[in-house]
């Protein structure tokens, strides 16, 4: 290749750099704007999500330190030991063993991982229990194809694809399904859990600010799974009480017939019902007494016994 003049070389480099800058800018733009409100996981609205986020960030940062070290080491190695003429760095083809270094990179990752492991264990056990002395609001969640049904056993009301919860009070979701497996997830309030027919799983979440949060199924369950969306409105306790009262007063009751319509394979909008036929729904407090639906033998389920 013919050698080019100095000016031209500089120009080419400049040009290259400019192009790289433009490219990098295009790619990085959405990343720079990365803390926008769309990043629901980064904007927790409750203690559960906050603890999960804290731990995620902690783990990410800890891991990033190691990764950064590895990449730096790799780049250094590549610069020093590329096969080029007159490489001043020593070529040691037989060097293949170093006890101290090998034990070092056995021990250091182990220590770092222990640093991640200990808070993991603590938080996992902590999040498995409701805060001491709290009186949770119980909501029984049933995932259907492809909609969410919610029952408030203490308020005697039922809703579809929409719930309201009071702020600063733990909500105990009792999750079950009358459909294939789904996952109940409200990202701003906290992590997900599967809903499975024939089993009731507890999950507690709490909102500490008012707002409207979206939740969706995170587990693929068929053609309209994309539409398994619901909303959670967190309001103050008085407005929550007003809301339940108004539903009890002004909305229709859910009959078994309504429920069987919900069981069909379709999507529906939001629904609110002033009561629901208690014996007909799977819930921990009332046992299983379902007659219709897809699991007719649930009356024998060990959960009841």
């Amino acid at each position: 290749m013919p050698k080019r003049g100095g000016f031209f070389l500089v120009f080419t480099r400049l040009q290259t750099r400019l192009w790289m800058l433009v490219a990098a800018g295009t790619i990085l733009m959405p990343f720079i704007s990365g803390c926008g409100s769309h990043y629901v996981l980064l904007h927790p609205a409750g203690p559960v999500a906050r603890r999960e986020l804290d731990l995620t960030v902690y783990a990410a940062v800890t891991m990033a330190v190691i990764v950064a070290f590895v990449i730096a080491l790799l780049i250094l190695t590549l610069i020093r030991y590329r096969d080029r003429p007159n490489n001043p760095h020593a070529y040691t083809p037989e060097w293949h063993d170093h006890r101290l270094m090998e034990s070092l990179w056995l021990i250091i990752p182990a220590v770092v991982l222990a640093a991640v492991a200990i808070p993991t264990v603590k938080t996992t056990y902590a999040l498995a229990r409701l805060p001491k002395g709290s009186h949770p609001l119980v909501i029984d969640v049933t995932s259907l194809d492809w909609k969410w049904m919610f029952e408030y056993p203490d308020q005697h009301i039922a809703t579809v694809n929409y719930i309201e919860i009071p702020t600063r009070r733990p909500v105990l979701f009792e999750l079950t399904a009358n459909s294939p497996m789904d996952a109940f997830w409200v990202p701003e309030l906290g992590g997900m859990e599967y809903t499975m027919s024939g089993r009731v799983l507890p999950l507690w979440l709490e909102a500490d600010r008012q707002g409207l949060f979206w939740g969706r199924s995170a587990q693929f369950s068929g053609i309209d799974f994309e539409k398994m969306l619901f909303h959670v409105r967190a309001v103050s306790t008085p407005s929550f009480n007003t809301w339940t009262a108004s539903i009890r007063r002004s909305k229709p009751a859910m009959t078994l017939d309504t429920y069987h319509r919900l069981l069909r394979f379709n999507t529906v909008g939001v629904g609110e019902y002033s009561s629901y036929p208690r014996s007909a729904f799977p819930s921990i407090t009332h046992g299983f007494g379902l007659s219709g639906g897809m699991y007719p033998v649930l009356s024998n389920h060990p959960q009841k016994n």
Binding site: Y125, R129, L130
Partner: protein, 124 residues
């Protein structure tokens, strides 16, 4: 088959690796089938013991489970050790390692699956 004398010498003797410890090869060569008969009697005895233990409800449930579990493992030991000639091999009896690894993984698989599927969520 014997085409390569050079191979026959070294290759046949498993590259001079005679095996060590529990993978040292060992062939059963007997004049009278003593071990077979002993194995048969043992296997019958073990089976009948566990059967009778259960039929007569000798212990309460949990010790009984443990007892028949031990008897079953003993039975497997009899079959593997006596009848299957575990350590017969040319060169090191390599099959021993995957076999015991397999036992270990199989046991772990069963025990862990039961544990996981109990769904002991706790705390509520």
């Amino acid at each position: 088959m014997a085409k390569e004398p050079s191979e026959q010498i070294i290759w046949d003797e498993e590259r001079g690796e005679p095996g060590f410890g529990f993978i040292r090869p060992h062939f059963h060569q007997e004049i009278f089938p003593t071990s077979q008969i002993v194995g048969y009697v043992l296997s019958l005895a073990l089976t009948l013991t566990s059967f009778l233990l259960v039929i007569h409800r000798t212990f309460s449930a949990s010790p009984l489970l443990v007892a028949i579990l031990i008897l079953a493992v003993g039975q497997a030991g009899v079959q593997v050790g006596i009848f299957m000639h575990l350590r017969e091999s040319r060169g090191p009896a390599w099959q021993v390692i995957p076999l015991f690894l397999g036992f270990f993984i199989a046991g772990g698989m069963i025990a862990m699956s039961i544990w996981i599927m109990m769904f002991k969520w706790g705390g509520y």
